[in-house]
C-alpha cells in the first residue's frame, strides 16, 4: 500500500511554486481544474510558465490575474462564449506576457515526446508558415533559452534520414514541473478513470514531474481495478489527489455537468480591461473558498447544468447557453 496521497485544495495550490512550468487536463472549456486555478489566484502565484496543448478559460483567468509570465501553446478562447483570449491579448500588447506559438499537433506531439522520455518530437506540420519564421522565436529573443528550464531552440529542421520523405521539424519535449488534472474519478492510490474524450490527459499526466489529480469523487481503488481496461492514468504517475465536486466549473465535465455558458460569456464580456478583470475577481474569486463559490452560484444553477446520466449532457441547459 502506498502513502496517503490526499491533499486539500489549498495544499494543491501551495505545491505549485512561483515560476513553475505548469500544464492542465481538459480541452478548451472542458474539464479544466478551475477550483485550483482560483486558489492559485487567491494565493497570488507569480511568474508561471504555462505549457499547454491548447489554452482555454482557465488560462484566461490565470493570465488576467497576472500569474503568468510565459504562455507556450496554440489557441486561446472560450469557444462559443468568447471568441478570443482578451486578457492574453491585452497582456501581450502591454509586453507583460511572452507568447511562444506552436501548432495544436506540435503541442500534442511535444507532450507525447515528453511522456515517453524522447529527446524530441518530429512532425511535418506547417512548413512554409510564420510558425517557422526564425525571427519569431520569442523565448530566444528574450534570452531565456538556457537549455535547462527552456529548450535551447524553438525547433530544428532536419531531413528524413530513413526514407527520404523530405523536411522534418524537430520539436522539444514539453517538460513541465506540474500537471493539474480535473477528472471524474480517482482511486485512493491515484488510478484515474476518465469518462468521455480523454483529450491529451494521459500524455500530460505522464510528462509532468508532479501530477495533481482533482476529481469529482475519490472512489475505492479496488473498484477501479476491477475494470483496469477502463482506466486512463496509472496510479504511480499520480502524486497527489483531492476530491472537489464541481471543481471544473465554469468549464464542463462529461457525464457530470455542462459548460456554464452564461458565466463564461459574462467573464469574457467583463474582462476586456484590467479593471474589469479585477472587478470580476473580487466578485467570484477573492474572499471566497470553493464552498462559498458554489453557494454563490446556487443550487438551481448547478442543477440546470447537471448532465443527464443516459446522455452525458444536460437537457435543462439550453444548448449554447443562450
Amino acid at each position: 500500500m502506498s502513502i496517503n496521497k490526499r491533499i486539500t485544495l489549498q495544499q494543491a495550490a501551495e505545491i505549485i511554486k512561483d515560476g513553475s512550468r505548469l500544464t492542465f487536463s481538459g480541452f478548451t472549456i472542458w474539464r479544466r481544474p478551475m477550483a485550483i486555478v482560483y486558489e492559485l489566484i487567491r494565493q497570488h502565484r507569480k511568474n508561471l510558465h504555462l505549457i499547454e496543448v491548447q489554452g482555454g478559460s482557465h488560462s484566461e483567468f490565470l493570465i488576467g490575474a497576472g500569474c503568468v509570465d510565459i504562455w507556450e501553446s496554440c489557441w486561446i478562447g472560450h469557444e462559443l462564449y468568447g471568441k478570443y483570449g482578451a486578457n492574453l491579448s491585452r497582456k501581450v500588447a502591454e509586453k507583460q506576457l511572452i507568447v511562444e506559438d506552436y501548432t495544436h499537433a506540435e503541442m500534442m506531439f511535444r507532450f507525447a515526446a515528453a511522456a515517453c522520455g524522447a529527446a524530441y518530437g518530429v512532425t511535418q506540420t506547417s512548413l512554409g508558415t510564420d510558425l517557422r519564421n526564425p525571427e519569431y522565436d520569442m523565448l530566444g529573443r528574450a534570452g531565456l533559452r538556457d537549455g535547462v528550464r527552456i529548450p535551447k531552440h524553438k525547433y530544428q529542421f532536419t531531413e528524413d534520414p530513413f526514407f527520404g520523405a523530405g523536411p522534418q521539424v524537430l520539436i522539444p519535449p514539453a517538460k513541465v514541473d506540474i500537471a493539474v488534472m480535473c477528472v471524474q474519478q480517482v482511486g485512493e492510490e491515484g488510478t484515474v478513470r476518465i469518462n468521455g474524450q480523454y483529450y491529451s490527459d494521459p500524455e500530460v499526466a505522464r510528462a509532468a514531474d508532479i501530477t495533481i489529480v482533482m476529481a469529482e469523487e475519490i472512489v475505492p481503488e479496488e473498484y477501479l481495478r476491477r475494470n483496469a481496461d477502463q482506466n486512463n492514468i496509472v496510479s504511480f504517475e499520480v502524486d497527489h489527489i483531492l476530491e472537489c465536486p464541481f471543481g471544473a466549473h465554469p468549464t464542463g465535465m462529461f457525464g457530470r455537468y455542462d459548460v456554464d455558458g452564461p458565466f463564461l460569456k459574462d467573464f469574457y464580456g467583463r474582462t476586456r480591461t484590467q479593471e474589469g478583470f479585477d472587478d470580476f475577481a473580487r466578485e467570484w474569486i477573492h474572499g471566497q473558498d470553493h464552498m462559498s463559490y458554489l453557494e454563490k452560484l446556487g443550487w438551481p444553477r448547478m442543477l440546470k447544468l447537471r448532465a443527464n446520466t443516459a446522455l452525458n449532457y444536460s437537457v435543462r441547459e439550453k444548448k449554447g447557453g443562450k
Partner: protein
C-alpha cells in the same frame, strides 16, 4: 426526383454558406470538423448525399455520428455513435498519417495564394490584437488532401499580405530566407494537397491548379463579380466565374433548422415576414 430549391426570401447567408460547404464533401471521405458552421455543414452532408462520410472531431472523436449538433468539439455530444472516442494524439496521428481527405477551417485574413492568418492583427512582434492562435488550422491544412475555408468577406480580410501566415496556402515561405515557393517544393513526400476553396459571405473561390492563385468561382445571389473584386485588396481573377452559388434546397433547410440546429446556435433562422 427534382430538387426544390428555396427562394431568396426563404434562406439566409449562413444557410447558403452551410449548404455550399456541405456540397464540398464527397461520400466516404474522412472529414475533419472544427467548431461552428462547418460542423453543421458536415452533418448536413452526412444526412443527405454523403451518408458514409467519416467525421473526426479534433478533441478525440473518430468516425462520429452525433444525433444533434455539439456546441464545440470537446462537447459530450460529439462521441455519441462514434467508432472510437479517445484524444488528440489519435486525432492528429490519424491526420499526419494521411487518412484525412477534407478539413473545414476558418480564418481572419487570407491572401491570393490561400495563406491564412488566425494569429494576430498587425506586426507579430508588436501586435494590435492577438487572435485565438493557430489551433489545429495549420495541421489540418498541412495533412489533409483538401481544405475549405469559411470566412466573413471584408476588404481588409482579403489582402495581398496577411499579418502572419498561420496556415499554409499554395505559395509559402521557404525559411530561413522567407522567399515564396510552391508548397510542393517544401512538403516533399508528405505533400498531399492544400486549400481547395474559400467560401466567404460574398462568393465561392477556388485556386488554379498550376499557379495556386485564387479565382472567383461563383457569386452568392445578389452579388456581381465586379462587386466581389472590389471587396478584395488584391486583383481578384473574375474571368472564370461559373454563375451564382446554388441556393439551399428546401430539404437542406429543413434538416439544418429542424434536425441539426433547431436552437440556432450556429445558423439563425430567417424570420418569416
Amino acid at each position: 426526383m427534382t430538387t426544390e430549391y428555396a427562394t431568396p426570401e426563404e434562406y439566409g447567408l449562413a444557410d447558403l454558406m452551410c449548404c455550399a460547404a456541405a456540397r464540398e464533401v464527397q461520400d466516404n471521405e474522412v472529414v475533419f470538423a472544427g467548431t461552428g458552421l462547418p460542423m453543421v455543414a458536415i452533418l448536413l452532408a452526412q444526412k443527405t448525399h454523403a451518408p458514409l462520410l467519416k467525421l473526426i472531431f479534433e478533441a478525440g472523436t473518430l468516425d462520429g455520428r452525433p444525433p444533434e449538433i455539439p456546441t464545440s468539439v470537446g462537447d459530450a455530444r460529439c462521441e455519441m455513435g462514434a467508432s472510437r472516442s479517445s484524444g488528440l494524439y489519435d486525432a492528429f496521428s490519424i491526420a499526419q498519417r494521411g487518412y484525412v481527405d477534407l478539413g473545414f477551417l476558418g480564418g481572419a485574413e487570407v491572401d491570393e495564394y490561400g495563406n491564412v492568418n488566425t494569429t494576430c492583427i498587425g506586426d507579430y512582434l508588436n501586435p494590435e490584437l492577438r487572435l485565438t492562435g493557430s489551433g489545429g488550422n495549420p495541421d489540418i491544412n498541412s495533412f489533409a488532401k483538401r481544405t475549405v475555408f469559411i470566412m466573413v468577406h471584408e476588404k481588409r480580410r482579403f489582402t495581398p499580405n496577411v499579418s502572419y501566415i498561420t496556415s499554409p496556402g499554395w505559395r509559402v515561405k521557404k525559411w530561413p530566407g522567407g522567399e515564396f515557393v510552391h508548397r510542393r517544393e517544401l512538403y516533399g513526400a508528405t505533400y498531399r494537397g492544400g486549400p481547395s476553396a474559400v467560401i466567404s459571405t460574398a462568393g465561392v473561390f477556388r485556386f488554379d491548379d498550376v499557379t495556386g492563385r485564387i479565382y472567383l468561382d461563383t457569386c452568392h445571389p445578389g452579388k456581381t463579380p465586379e462587386e466581389i473584386r472590389d471587396m478584395c485588396q488584391f486583383d481578384l481573377d473574375i474571368s472564370r466565374v461559373n454563375g451564382e452559388t446554388l441556393p439551399p434546397s428546401r430539404e437542406e433547410l429543413r434538416i439544418i433548422h429542424e434536425v441539426l440546429d433547431p436552437d440556432e446556435i450556429f445558423i439563425p433562422k430567417v424570420k418569416k415576414g
